[in-house]
């Protein structure tokens, strides 16, 4: 049979580049899975639907894809949308027993989705923002040069979560570090970050933590360079489409990111995918969750011997999945994947530990540290209602 | 002291630095027809604009039926029974002739801003509009969009809108401008008919109209009323001749 997965993310508008890249990633991995029969006789089909980046539009798309017979959806670009979809999926499943759908979350990282708002029908394959912050602060804790930290983020749920976690975790791990300021700016609207940079500069910060993504990150770093701000940037999304180009050499040695994978990892696991993807799409493969999701689904349908969402969901619980960052576990209690995390720095490609560049800039991400899953793991407050 | 329909007391009006109306005074008794004449730019239309509340006055006082109106806005003055027409046609060009008139009668019939009455059910408004339509001779053009009327018809409609509300003080600004002789004769008839028993104030350059219609003539020069008298006396007034009529008085009369 065909496992049809609807990819509901922005394919037009300002966030389209990232959405398109991830859709391509999914399709690339699905092709490979189909060619190598990961799921036995079952085939994957992943179809992109444009939600124009809006929660409301996403719900309308959700209706459409359900009408078209999709039983699996995947989404990730924006926790706002993610929360809305989660809610809608729950409601739909409640009203339509026997016709349930499953939501495979590839990047929406608001911790609430696996805590207070957790659901049996939702699985998150990215690490949530608390886990990333845990890893990031663990890494930062080792650096004695960090004295003053400034936190800047986009004004929406995810940005808020980052700010909160950064303060909490730094206080726990490095009480000596001073938080010299925090700022939330409107998402996707700021053209000129120089006033923020001036503020950061005035605060005397040596380190900046930001969850910004897309143009918000690129512009931030550019403005920092213009004003000669000598601070390091700890980011979540330095590797996403558009940022490397915009950053260019300006971010060299100064920008780091935390993520569940890095193309230049210790063993270059996933090298084939990166190269194959580049050959096919002339673009960089960075959204490794696509790989994990397809692999996990393949494994689950084989185990459940069914492609019925409810069975597959049950099989996914506690599944051990071999992915490109090692063996990951889908925690049963909250459906949050437990996986290692990487910290990497933006440097010149050197052919040794930094082989792959991004967006043909000649710069790539050098792995600083791989942080094991157990380090980053977080407790959950999830009280999941399982189908009877 | 009898109250006049309309009384101007030392009215002054300046636009920026230039004073256009320089202490005009005038008393119009009830039921009389007044014509205002004067050179171009003397301030006749401005005077109308002040009386009807389109512009605020700078100083002085204007009394309508004995009450001051200087602080009121145009629609408030209208509600107290003064209605005016415009020198440059000012109608609702995308509504039909009938609708133009029906709009004009609504307030006076007390419908205010109602959105709970059905227009079609307002018999009184309908009858009033039809009556005015008859009076101004546009019965056959009833459902034509007003913007498509000929010039003369539009002028007639202009007058129609002005009188429809049943105001008892009526101001007409050059009602026959641009009309041919015969058309303006008809217009004079119309005006005579519809202003019976009302107070009329009218600006005109066409002397045959002025002398044909007016009980009294006021002459405005440089923002002042320099004379106000019966037509016969005005015709023979040297000051008026110099300022306005020129060599041969009413040529076309």
């Amino acid at each position: 049979d065909t496992i049809k997965i609807a990819y509901i993310d922005p394919l037009s508008g300002p966030f389209a580049p990232v959405g398109q890249n991830i859709l391509n990633s999914f399709q690339y991995v699905a092709d490979e899975a189909n060619a190598k029969s990961w799921a036995g006789a079952h085939k994957f089909e992943i179809v992109g639907f444009d939600n124009k980046g809006s929660p409301q539009e996403s719900l309308s798309v959700l209706k459409t894809v359900i009408d078209k017979g999709f039983r699996y959806i995947t989404q990730g670009n924006g926790s706002g949308v993610g929360l809305a979809l989660l809610d809608a999926v729950n409601k739909y499943n409640e009203r339509n027993p026997g016709k349930e759908i499953v939501y495979l979350n590839h990047a929406a990282v608001d911790p609430d989705m696996t805590n207070s708002k957790c659901s049996f029908w939702h699985f998150r394959f990215d690490a949530n923002s608390d886990m990333k912050m845990e890893a990031l602060t663990t890494y930062m804790a080792q650096d004695k040069n960090i004295k003053k930290v400034y936190i800047i983020g986009q004004n929406y749920s995810f940005g808020h979560q980052v700010t909160r976690a950064a303060k909490e975790y730094l206080a726990r791990k490095r009480p000596d570090v001073q938080i010299v300021g925090d700022d939330l700016h409107p998402i996707g609207q700021v053209k000129d970050f120089s006033p923020y940079i001036a503020k950061i500069k005035a605060s005397g910060a040596d380190t900046v933590i930001t969850g910004n993504w897309g143009a918000d990150l690129a512009l931030l770093i550019k403005a920092a360079k213009d004003a000669d701000l000598k601070a390091n940037f700890y980011t979540y999304y330095g590797a996403t489409t558009g940022v490397p180009t915009a950053m260019g050499a300006a971010g060299q040695d100064r920008v780091k990111y935390v993520g569940y994978w890095n193309a230049n990892n210790e063993t270059f696991a996933g090298k084939d995918v990166v190269e194959g993807f580049k050959a096919k799409y002339k673009d960089d493969y960075y959204s490794m969750a696509t790989y994990t999701i397809v692999a996990a689904m393949a494994q689950a349908v084989k185990q459940a011997k069914s492609i019925e969402p409810k069975d597959v969901a049950l099989a996914l619980e506690n599944a051990k999945i071999k992915s490109l960052n090692g063996e990951d576990v889908m925690r049963k209690s909250d459906h949050q994947l437990q996986q290692p995390l990487y910290i990497a720095t933006w440097v010149k490609v050197n052919g040794k530990d930094v082989k792959f560049d991004q967006e043909n800039t000649g710069l790539g991400w050098k792995t600083n540290q791989k942080i094991d899953a157990f380090v980053a793991t977080q407790p959950t407050s999830c009280q999941m209602k399982r189908p009877g | 002291m009898t109250t006049f329909s309309l009384e101007l007391k030392e009215v002054r009006k300046s636009f920026g630095k230039s004073e256009i109306i320089r202490g005009a005074s005038l008393q119009v008794p009830k039921g009389e027809r007044f014509a205002i004449i004067g050179p171009n730019g003397a301030g006749k239309s401005t005077l109308f604009n002040l009386i009807s509340g389109r512009f605020p006055i700078s100083s002085g006082d204007i009394l309508l039926n004995g009450e001051s109106t200087t602080k009121l806005r145009p629609f408030e003055i209208n509600r107290r029974g003064l209605s005016r027409s415009f020198q440059i046609t000012n109608i609702f060009h995308r509504l039909s002739v009938y609708e133009n008139l029906r709009c004009a009668v609504l307030w006076s019939l007390g419908y205010k801003y109602s959105f709970w009455h059905r227009l079609g059910g307002l018999k009184d408004a309908h009858e009033r509009a039809e009556a005015v339509l008859e009076q101004i001779g546009l019965k056959r053009r009833r459902d034509i969009t007003a913007g498509l009327l000929t010039y003369a018809e539009q002028r007639a409609l202009e007058i129609g809108i002005t009188i429809a509300g049943g105001a008892d003080v009526i101001l007409l600004d050059e009602p026959t401008a641009g009309m041919s002789r015969s058309e303006s004769d008809m217009a004079v008839e119309l005006i005579r008919k519809v202003t019976v028993g009302k107070t009329l104030l009218m600006v005109e350059h066409d002397m045959s109209v002025v002398f044909g219609l007016a009980d009294k003539i006021a002459v405005v020069v440089y923002g002042e009323v320099i004379a106000c008298d019966t037509p016969v006396n005005i015709r023979n007034n040297q000051k008026v001749k110099d300022a306005y009529l020129g060599g041969h008085a009413p040529v076309e009369a």
């Binding site: 809006s54 409301q56 | 145009p74 609702f92 509504l95 307030w107 059905r118």
Partner: protein
């Protein structure tokens, strides 16, 4: 925008039209019962109310607003908060009447904002509305507790016990709820056009200055019209809250306001029912087209431009012109040239669509391989043949169009002159 509401059917005709409308609303979901069309119909219904309420401002009152979404959006927010209160058991209120909450909230904000905006008219009015909508939109991110931030506020419409099996869970029940409100609101708004205030709104649109001299305060006329319009906008907002079960900042955005302007304009502001046509087309284009093609924004843009350039009266005016021709029994005179021009346009259009789709394939989706499926046929864009076909279609269609257009315009002109002559004679 000319002859607003000149169309006055007989009372009998009016009864027929309204009954027909009701019947249409009832049977629509039975006819369009393919997957997804139900939610499409529901959306169309809400947007129809929204468009009609917008046209109270634009078509009737001549007020070009860039911020109408403020009223529908805030209406939607209040409606959804009300629903959540009901869910929490804080109050008891039937879902069926939730749109009323939206309407009242919309109205309340109409009272508030309208007081400021309707002080002015013309461009100043438009600009203030633009400012207000941007303000409200920006506020929506500053007060996440009310607006729900970027993710919006969600709700569950299945609350309280079911009444005669109506839970509003299934979409079809929601559709009929929307249809009911649509019917009632449409009657309400149509009735408004036939009231003294409605007529004065026309007068203010045509000539605000003169209105002051027939005893009316133009500002009040505008203000009251806006309040009523905001009420209906709020109803549509409330319905969309029920329909989507989510309301987010975009509901109060300039973009949403812009799209209602576009839809209404495309439908035709000159006729009462214009916005309804606009809603159908607008929703169809923006929801359906994006499923079929990646180039939907291009098509949408080009379609708008073409409408504006060639049919500024909107679809409604095209329709009415043709109806008029038909009524005078002259349709057969233009029919032959009309179908020809439609045919060649379709040919040219097909060529353009093929070319655009292939172009998209070559540039944006080049990575997906050269083969695409067009109208159910798979086409290899790396081969010259489909390109030649496309160019040929465009060339033939375009050439045919220029030829046919001359003939058609001439016939069209003749027929319409004749009609106008007849009408004039009838009046003279």
């Amino acid at each position: 925008m000319t002859n607003t509401l000149k169309y006055k059917p007989l009372n009998l005709a009016r009864w027929i039209i309204w009954t027909g409308f009701a019947v249409m609303l009832i049977v629509a979901p039975l006819i369009f019962n393919k997957g997804g069309s139900l939610s499409l119909l529901s959306q169309m219904g809400t947007v129809m109310i929204f468009g009609l309420s917008y046209n109270m401002l634009l078509g009737q009152g001549g007020m070009l607003s860039f911020g109408h979404a403020v009223y529908s959006g805030l209406g939607a927010f209040f409606a959804i908060h009300m629903m959540n209160l009901v869910t929490n058991g804080a109050v008891n209120f039937p879902i069926t009447l939730i749109p009323l909450i939206g309407g009242l909230a919309g109205m309340a904000f109409g009272v508030l904002f309208g007081y400021v905006t309707t002080k002015k008219s013309g461009t100043t009015f438009s600009m203030i509305t633009l400012g207000i909508v941007e303000l409200v939109f920006a506020c929506s991110l500053m007060f996440p507790s009310f607006f729900g931030g970027e993710g919006g506020i969600s709700t569950n419409r299945v609350i309280g016990q079911s009444f005669m099996g109506i839970t509003y869970g299934p979409q079809i029940q929601v559709y009929y709820l929307i249809a009911l409100w649509l019917f009632v609101s449409t009657i309400g708004m149509y009735a408004f056009t036939q009231t003294p205030l409605g007529r004065l709104a026309n007068a203010v649109r045509d000539n605000p200055e003169r209105v002051e001299f027939i005893g009316y305060d133009t500002q009040w006329v505008r203000y009251l019209t806006l309040i009523l319009s905001a009420f209906f906008a709020g109803i549509s907002g409330g319905l969309s809250a029920i329909n989507f079960e989510i309301v987010s900042a975009e509901n109060v955005s300039a973009l949403r306001s812009g799209s209602v302007l576009l839809f209404t304009f495309i439908g035709g502001v000159g006729f009462f029912f214009g916005p309804m046509i606009g809603a159908v087309i607008g929703i169809f284009l923006s929801v359906m087209l994006s499923d079929f093609t990646k180039a939907w924004q291009l098509y949408l843009g080009v379609f708008f431009i073409a409408m504006v350039m060639f049919a500024p009266g909107g679809i409604a005016s095209i329709l009415m012109m043709n109806l008029r021709v038909a009524k005078f029994g002259l349709f057969k005179r233009i029919w032959s040239s009309m179908w020809k021009i439609v045919l060649v346009s379709v040919v040219a259009l097909a060529g353009c669509v093929i070319a655009v789709e292939m172009l998209y394939q070559r540039t944006l989706d080049s990575t997906q391989g050269p083969v695409i499926s067009l109208f159910g046929v798979s086409v290899d864009t790396s081969q010259p043949t489909p390109w030649i076909v496309a160019v040929l279609l465009i060339a033939v269609g375009g050439w045919g169009f220029t030829r046919c257009k001359v003939v058609f315009m001439q016939k069209w002109g003749e027929v319409n002159t004749e009609i106008e002559d007849q009408m004039r004679r009838a009046q003279a």
